[in-house]
């Protein structure tokens, strides 16, 4: 096992708790807005670390580029999705918890 393999595996392992934290927030937070906070932020970092780790692990720059692209496209989808749900909830008069 080479050093890049080890580093790649480490980054993947490091990314996984972020998905756990995001899901925990989704389950524990009180309303749509706060849940969106939890998911959008943690998925961003979680997938970023996993993709970076896999890119190192693959050892191919083309695969690395593809993983980077997947991360960027997921960021766009995640940010836009959170925004759409948040704005729709607000437009339909859903009151934020605690306000």
């Amino acid at each position: 096992m080479s050093l890049t393999d080890l580093l790649g595996g480490l980054l993947v392992l490091l990314g996984m708790p972020f998905f756990f934290l995001g899901t925990l927030g989704l389950l524990r937070f009180p309303d749509a807005y706060t849940r969106l906070h939890a998911l959008a932020k943690t998925d961003n970092v979680g997938l970023g670390l996993v993709c970076l780790g896999l890119a190192l692990y693959s050892g191919s720059w083309l695969t690395g580029l593809k993983l980077l692209l997947i991360w960027l496209l997921m960021l766009v989808a995640s940010a836009a999705g959170a925004g759409l749900i948040g704005r729709t909830a607000m437009a339909r008069g859903m009151k934020p918890w605690g306000l």
Binding site: A40, K66, W97
Partner: protein, 178 residues
């Protein structure tokens, strides 16, 4: 949302395609989308059977015509990337720790944040961007401001937004000449 009849949609699409065909960005878009396809299919030559129509279609039916010139500013991009990575990490850790604590500490607030950005594309970029940054979620966009749902210290968050907005302006907005 305004509703359009079928004819109006058809006319709209034809007008868009015409504009895109004559637009200067067409060659650049074709090249960029072809590159994206090439990367996604990992250079598989057989995939171009689908790739060519997909690339051409995406380049011609681009529903968001750029209303500003794209500026190549490597330094601004670098500063932005640094801020983005740092913001992503602190944002994820912040919200993660809140989820982890038994008391689930959240102090939500709604803040109206008046736009400093002038162009539509920069504003949309910013509104989406803050959904990934620490403690902010865009819940309304108007011509003068966006409403931001904040968890945590509202004052500090707004100060952070102002800094972020400046970075976006450096990245996307050319000084206005009109």
């Amino acid at each position: 949302m305004p509703r359009f009849g079928r004819e109006e949609v058809a006319i709209g699409i034809i007008a868009t395609v015409r504009r895109q065909l004559s637009g200067r960005g067409l060659a650049l878009r074709l090249l960029l989308y072809a590159l994206v396809w090439w990367v996604l299919t990992a250079g598989d030559t057989g995939a171009w059977v689908w790739g060519v129509p997909a690339v051409a279609g995406a380049a011609l039916f681009n529903p968001f015509p750029a209303n500003g010139r794209l500026r190549l500013a490597p330094l601004a991009l670098l500063r932005f990337a640094q801020r983005f990575i740092l913001g992503s990490l602190t944002g994820a850790l912040d919200v993660g720790l809140r989820a982890l604590q038994p008391a689930r500490p959240l102090s939500p607030a709604l803040v109206d944040y008046p736009w400093q950005l002038q162009t539509r594309s920069a504003r949309i970029f910013m509104a989406n961007l803050i959904n990934l940054m620490p403690g902010t979620l865009c819940v309304r966009i108007t011509d003068t401001a966006m409403s931001v749902h904040v968890i945590g210290d509202a004052e500090r968050t707004v100060a952070g937004l102002a800094k972020l907005e400046q970075l976006v302006a450096d990245l996307m907005e050319v000084e206005d000449h009109d």
